[in-house]
């Protein structure tokens, strides 16, 4: 079930809101747990058992982290979690790389990367002493299975919501903010991501050697907008729904497309994942505390794993290592030069490299990626041209996508937020956007989020 589906919007969400607000407060967590499990079972009737096993395993391992078996429990929890992840997500990749082709395909449950990492972060935080193991298994189950962030993040740390799991305040103001955030996220998904995604798909399916350079760049730009608005839209909906239920999830994006370096980009993009790898892989490996060579190795390891997390294919490993190399170069070669460079130049540098990164990410294989990048530099034969016509068809979405990827509108909103008229206008606008999104839900067929692959 995706948040932009009719079933979610008009059956699931009204039902969970009704149960949550009508039943006594002490039932709140139970309601969320039941509905979260139902939410997951709806899309993964068989996968629900894997998630329940994951929850149970992490609950038990965390309890053992307060006795003399803590190191063993930690190791076992890592083996357990990575074992589940490797089996369901990477077994096919591993076997095919070993030359074994005759094996039964393992169906990967939706969101396994997210809930596995979430479970692991809980165990790690207990081990580090950042939090105490939760005795109530229902609280752990609610935390890991909480439907707003279950299948596509953000990856929520237990420490972020452990207080709110026990006691949380729900106010009209918070609920209204949550609804606003939800509608903004849904609008990003339906009005921008889906539309520009269609354009990107149209261009990316074309044989790259036939693309004109403008068409290739248009495809890359549209894909960059699609993946940003798709994923940040989903995060907005998750954060918004969290607020409706009294939870404060951390932000996952911070205007990454205005970054002036790759380092800054990754400090603003999918922040819950990058901080997860920083806190649980990079720092335990030694981070930057063990010399330059070790730091470079740590960066390469982290980014190889980041690439693999996104998909079980060498293309994703290559994508991760692409960013590792850029980050290393910024750190040790031209970082200072970049910091002193004119802002515009730094933006162009960052955006260009990010666009090439998305071409790698979206490419079907190495040949396709090289061909596409070649087309961006004019090496295609331009049989498939007409970028101006195609961009003109979607000028409204392209302009809106460019505008909303900067904090300009938000800053404008802050200036007027205390004016009653402005607030009323904004909310009327949000309701109208909600209605438009509903119309588009009806008008379009099933439409999965990109990050559902993970």
């Amino acid at each position: 079930m995706v948040f932009s589906s009719a079933t979610f919007l008009f059956i699931f969400l009204p039902a969970v809101l009704a149960a949550y607000f009508i039943l006594p407060k002490k039932c709140n967590n139970f309601v969320l747990l039941v509905f979260s499990l139902a939410f997951y079972a709806y899309g993964e009737p068989k996968g629900i058992f894997i998630m329940l096993i994951s929850i149970l395993g992490n609950y038990i391992f965390a309890l053992f982290l307060r006795n003399r078996y803590k190191k063993l429990a930690l190791v076992l929890s890592v083996v357990f979690n990575l074992g589940i992840l490797c089996y369901y997500k990477y077994s096919g990749f591993l076997l095919s790389n070993l030359g074994i082709t005759d094996f039964r395909e393992v169906i990967m449950p939706i969101g396994i990367s997210f809930f596995t990492f979430q479970g692991m972060s809980y165990v790690f935080d207990v081990y580090k002493g950042d939090t105490e193991p939760e005795r109530n298994p229902l609280n752990v189950a609610t935390y890991i299975s909480l439907f707003p962030q279950l299948v596509a993040g953000p990856i929520v740390r237990y420490t972020t919501i452990e207080q709110e799991l026990v006691t949380r305040e729900i106010t009209a103001e918070k609920t209204a903010r949550g609804i606003s955030r939800f509608i903004i996220g849904l609008s990003k998904k339906m009005l921008l991501a889906n539309t520009l995604g269609g354009v990107a798909a149209q261009i990316f399916e074309v044989e790259p050697s036939t693309l004109s350079a403008p068409m290739a760049w248009l495809g890359a730009v549209c894909y960059a907008f699609q993946i940003f608005y798709d994923f940040s839209g989903y995060s907005d909906m998750a954060i918004g729904m969290g607020l409706m239920f009294g939870f404060h999830f951390l932000e996952n994006f911070n205007y990454p497309y205005i970054a002036r370096s790759i380092t800054e980009f990754w400090q603003s993009w999918h922040m819950s994942l990058s901080t997860w790898f920083r806190d649980y892989v990079y720092i335990p490996l030694g981070g930057n505390r063990k010399g330059v060579k070790r730091q470079i190795l740590n960066i390469l390891i982290v980014w190889m794993l980041t690439g693999l997390w996104h998909g079980a294919a060498w293309v994703f490993v290559f994508w991760g290592l692409y960013y590792a190399v850029l980050l290393i170069l910024e750190k040790f070669v031209w970082g200072r030069l970049l910091a002193r460079a004119p802002r515009v130049l730094a933006h162009v540098y960052t955006l260009a490299l990010v666009l090439f990164g998305w071409v790698i990410f979206n490419g079907s294989n190495v040949g396709h990626i090289l061909g596409y990048v070649g087309a961006m530099f004019g090496l295609g034969d331009a049989t498939y041209a007409g970028a101006l016509g195609l961009a003109g068809d979607y000028k409204v979405e392209l302009l809106a996508a460019a505008l909303f990827s900067t904090p300009g509108v938000k800053m404008l909103g802050k200036r007027f937020k205390d004016r009653r008229g402005a607030m009323v206008l904004a909310r009327v606008g949000l309701i109208m956007m909600f209605i438009v999104c509903i119309m588009m839900v009806v008008n379009t067929s099933f439409n999965p989020f990109i990050y559902f692959r993970f």
Partner: protein, 370 residues
């Protein structure tokens, strides 16, 4: 501000509550006339469907198919895309120079499709050999599809597959030559006569009566049939919504003229799938392409009881319908098979049983590789 928050929440909740209730209470349609399909019925619960996830996904389709004010919503979206946002492509069709044309699925440039095309040509040659084995004559009529006929109207950024199609056409006809199959290439005929504009509907993928007449004349010429083309034509309706215009859910900027004719040769008997039906070739109550022969029927047998004229079998898909409505005039008995629907016998078996004097296959160029 507090009251504002509560009103905002109330409106949101009202929308969430109103929509499912309105959807549940609104009357349910069985089919959608624009999409030409049966709308999803209430899903059936079985353990297999539940475990596979099909039961849940069908509920999503059911909800959207029966959504409150669905038709109005889809129409509004199409209108907005076409007239406000001024998109070239809306719902997989685009409007160009007075035509509503299809967006074709992308296909990478092909160097050669000779293997696939050769196999398709050999299938045709089999039917030709069976026909010729008892002294019959076989003719293949190759029709340009709408996208081929109007490939020049495609904007640069809308895929027309014309380069690939030309290769396929050349290889297909070359294979037929090698196999000794008699054929007519209607693309060349229409091109030479500058006849595309007059031969196709504006909003439908089929030939109009003008195009069907030209095909009938060409068939008669190739097979030395007597031709009855001195007919009185008239407009049945100016507001035909063609197959392409249906994608626009009633907001197509123009509609089509559905022209028919007054038959002069009486149909003595007609059978559809073995059952006697009204002896006519035009179903004048229909206001679309289905007027010709009453639409797609698996097997039709039309008799004019003129034994001096030949017995003819014509087969293919829906492109044959308008041609059949004219061709029967030149026949004592005309049998027609819609290959998409008829499953009782293979075409070779059918030919062997009924041994028509002439066997004609009408096929559009997008089917040359099948």
């Amino acid at each position: 501000m507090r009251i504002g928050n509560r009103i905002f929440i109330a409106v949101f909740v009202l929308i969430l509550a109103f929509v499912p209730v309105a959807t549940a209470l609104s009357p349910k349609k069985l089919t959608d006339e624009y999409e030409f399909r049966t709308l999803q019925r209430r899903p059936e619960l079985t353990s297999e469907r539940l475990l596979s996830g099909k039961y849940m996904s069908d509920w999503e389709v059911y909800f959207k198919d029966n959504f409150f004010m669905r038709d109005a919503i889809i129409k509004a979206c199409a209108y907005t895309e076409l007239n406000v946002l001024k998109r070239t492509v809306v719902n997989n069709v685009f409007v160009s120079d007075g035509h509503v044309l299809p967006v074709l699925p992308y296909r990478a440039p092909v160097d050669s499709t000779s293997t696939v095309v050769r196999e398709a040509a050999e299938k045709i040659a089999n039917a030709a050999r069976v026909t010729e084995s008892y002294g019959g004559e076989y003719l293949l009529v190759g029709l340009p599809s709408q996208s081929s006929a109007f490939h020049e109207l495609y904007p640069k950024h809308v895929f027309d597959n014309w380069d690939n199609q030309q290769k396929v056409n050349a290889e297909f006809y070359s294979a037929l030559d090698d196999l000794g199959v008699q054929y007519v290439d209607m693309y060349t005929v229409f091109k030479d006569e500058n006849g595309f504009e007059d031969s196709y509907y504006k909003t439908d993928h089929h030939l109009n009566i003008g195009g069907a007449l030209r095909v009938y004349q060409k068939i008669a010429e190739e097979l030395a049939l007597s031709v009855y083309d001195n007919l009185e034509f008239y407009v049945l309706t100016d507001e035909m919504i063609g197959s392409r215009a249906r994608y626009l859910h009633g907001v197509s900027p123009f509609l089509d003229k559905l022209e028919v004719f007054k038959p002069t040769i009486p149909v003595r008997t007609r059978e559809d799938n073995g059952e006697a039906v009204a002896p006519e070739v035009l179903s004048l109550d229909m206001r679309n392409y289905g007027v010709f022969m009453g639409g797609d029927v698996g097997e039709t047998v039309v008799k004019t009881e003129r034994p001096e004229l030949p017995n003819v079998l014509v087969y293919g898909a829906s492109y044959t319908n308008a041609v059949e409505a004219l061709l029967y005039q030149s026949c004592n008995e005309m049998r027609s098979i819609d290959q998409r629907v008829y499953t009782k016998l293979t075409i070779e078996e059918y030919i062997e049983i009924y041994k028509p004097d002439f066997v004609i296959q009408i096929v559009d160029d997008r089917s040359f590789e099948r």
